[in-house]
């Protein structure tokens, strides 16, 4: 009996430790963004503070750039998600239904190519993008983010389409529907769970990425993480309150989204990891 109690206490302690490790940094930033200056630095951190929005007001006043960048992040994220889905849904369907060797080889190719790190690709892309006049555009960033998740997207979609019985395809064919029509009208809606999982990956990546935004955007297409990094880079006069407010604004929507879509994230990860 004592042993069981001991185990329960141990388990609770482990959970508390995990929660502290996982949440403390996030909670600290979010609460500190609402604290008056003198309380931000209180040790230990205060919990019963009187919340103030002054850092958010200061952010609005001093960093109008940041809010424009949030808009850019939104455009780029939506664009990347649409492109990634438009490319990986038909590919996933083809890889699930067509067993020809060249089709399957092209699926393998998608995975192999992903061994090349994104930063390596930025080198040859840089002059090319400038020549094409695509530097610092929303389109470029959206295409980059989409491409780096097309491989995983196709694999995840394939494993979801594998669960959809082929009899449905055959029935549609008997009714005279072509492959595309079958995919769009019948199969794709049944793979919506998979599409959601792919969307979660792309959205998190596009909303949060620093590397591509850092190299390929300057003013027009500047995303929120990039402006945030400029605020961090203000070495001498880091205004922690404003910085916390900006970090909170950048973080809050995606955090809420990820927690709401948790189920799809887990499903997508297990589909991608076991089949990929």
């Amino acid at each position: 009996m004592r042993r069981r109690q001991f185990a329960t206490v141990g388990k609770l302690a482990a959970c508390a430790l995990i929660a502290l490790w996982s949440l403390a940094p996030i909670v600290l930033i979010v609460t500190s963004s609402l604290k008056p200056e003198n309380e931000i630095f209180a040790v230990p951190p205060t919990l019963g503070f009187s919340p103030t929005l002054k850092h958010y007001a200061a952010l609005w006043e001093r960093w109008p750039d940041f809010f424009a960048a949030l808009g850019n992040s939104l455009i780029v994220t939506v664009g990347a998600t649409l492109i990634a889905l438009a490319a990986s849904i038909p590919a996933g369907y083809a890889y699930s239904r067509f067993q020809q060797r060249w089709v399957q080889a092209s699926a393998f190719w998608l995975i192999v190519v992903r061994l090349i790190p994104p930063i390596v690709v930025t080198l040859p892309l840089f002059p090319l993008v400038n020549a094409l006049g695509l530097a610092d555009t929303h389109l470029l960033l959206a295409v980059l983010y989409a491409t780096f998740f097309v491989s995983l997207g196709a694999v995840v979609m394939r494993s979801f389409f594998d669960q959809v019985p082929r009899e449905l395809d055959e029935a549609a064919a008997v009714d005279g529907a072509g492959r595309w029509m079958t995919l769009i009208r019948i199969i794709a809606p049944l793979g919506a769970q998979g599409a959601l999982a792919v969307a979660v990956f792309v959205i998190v990546f596009a909303w949060n990425d620093f590397l591509f935004a850092f190299i390929f955007s300057a003013t027009r297409a500047k995303t929120a993480p990039l402006v945030l990094s400029e605020m961090v880079g203000n070495f001498d006069g880091v205004d922690w309150g404003v910085l916390f407010a900006a970090a909170t604004v950048q973080l809050a929507p995606i955090l809420v989204f990820v927690l709401a879509a948790q189920k799809h994230l887990v499903a997508g990860l297990s589909a991608g990891a076991t089949k990929g």
Binding site: K11, L12, C15, I18, A19, S22, P25, I26, L28, I29, S32, P44, P45, A87, P90, A91, A94, V103, S106, L110, V113, R114, L115, P117, I119, V120, V121, T122, L123, P124, F126, A146, T147, F148, S151, G153, A154, V204, N208, F210, L211, F214, P225, L226, L228, S229, V232, W240, A247, Q250, L251, I254, L255, V258, L259, Q262, L265, L269, S270, T274
Partner: protein, 289 residues
């Protein structure tokens, strides 16, 4: 039949076109670049393997490679260990399971930049709460902007924090997929918890552990943002990792050829690091077949 071929091609074309235009094509161009000397805007001259020789003869490259290897190996194995422990804890039942899952997943949503803001503040020598805690218990502070080793410790901590949700989720999903009958049989046979772990859980989780390790080794090798945003590779280029070295060669020193060579060395490096796991995974797949 011709219609069917057109359909197949059409369905895989968008994905393949994106990959070809953004990754595969540029990668081929990179091969060409790595054999030429060119700075941005100037005409290229063929130099054979000179770029590779230059990079391989550069002490900064080796330091960056060593830093990367150490950080990657520490980070990935720490993640596997913690992820496995947490997966087993969750599988054995935790209070408020759904809430706890959300808690563990939360860092997955945090951008590298926001994470750097958090950890930089917490470990700030003057005002950070972690610094205050370390001081209170008499431990040395993390002077990450002055002491290179401390900078690397902070980068490693940050990486583990950001990527533990991913590793955990893979291992947790794999653990949940194990048949419960095995554990019942083991209990009836009088196996202790440790024996069940050693004889059932661990062997059956090997494939998932290998997959997680492979994913993370290959991705961790690309480490750039955390280092760039924390130390920019400093002080005196001591905390550079390969990706930062590559970036500086290309965009600060304007040596695209050397940077291109670094790019290929980076691909090779991540494969070499991942090779033992890849080999084990292949063997595990063959044993299972």
């Amino acid at each position: 039949m011709r219609e069917a071929l057109a359909t197949r091609l059409g369905m895989i074309a968008p994905a393949q076109a994106l990959i070809a235009a953004v990754i595969a094509g540029p990668a081929l161009y990179l091969v060409w670049l790595s054999f030429h000397t060119s700075s941005y805007g100037a005409a290229a001259v063929f130099v054979g393997l000179e770029n590779y020789a230059r990079v391989l003869g550069d002490a900064y490259f080796w330091r960056a490679l060593a830093n990367t290897a150490v950080i990657v190996l520490v980070v990935v194995h720490l993640e596997l260990l913690l992820g496995l422990a947490m997966a087993l804890l969750f599988a054995s039942g935790v209070p408020l399971r759904r809430v706890m899952l959300a808690v563990v997943i939360a860092p997955y949503a945090v951008s590298e930049v926001a994470a750097v803001v958090m950890w930089r503040f917490m470990t700030d020598p003057d005002v950070g709460h972690v610094s205050a805690l370390l001081r209170a218990v008499g431990l040395p502070m993390l002077e990450w902007s002055v002491v290179p080793a401390h900078g690397m410790v902070l980068v490693a901590l940050l990486s583990v924090w950001l990527h533990l949700p991913f590793t955990f989720l893979i291992l947790y999903a794999a653990r949940l997929a194990l048949p419960t009958e095995l554990y019942e049989a083991a209990r009836i046979d009088g196996a202790t918890g440790w024996q069940a772990f050693r004889r059932i859980t661990l062997p059956l989780l090997i494939p998932a552990l290998l997959v997680a390790a492979l994913f993370r080794l290959i991705f961790a090798f690309r480490l750039f943002s955390e280092v760039w945003l924390l130390t920019q590779g400093g002080p005196a280029r001591s905390t550079e990792v390969v990706a930062v070295y590559l970036y500086l060669e290309a965009f600060r020193y304007n040596a695209f050829g050397a940077a291109a060579a670094t790019g290929w060395l980076m691909v090779v490096g991540s494969l070499v690091l991942a090779a033992p796991y890849l080999w084990r995974l292949k063997r595990a797949a063959r044993d299972a077949a």
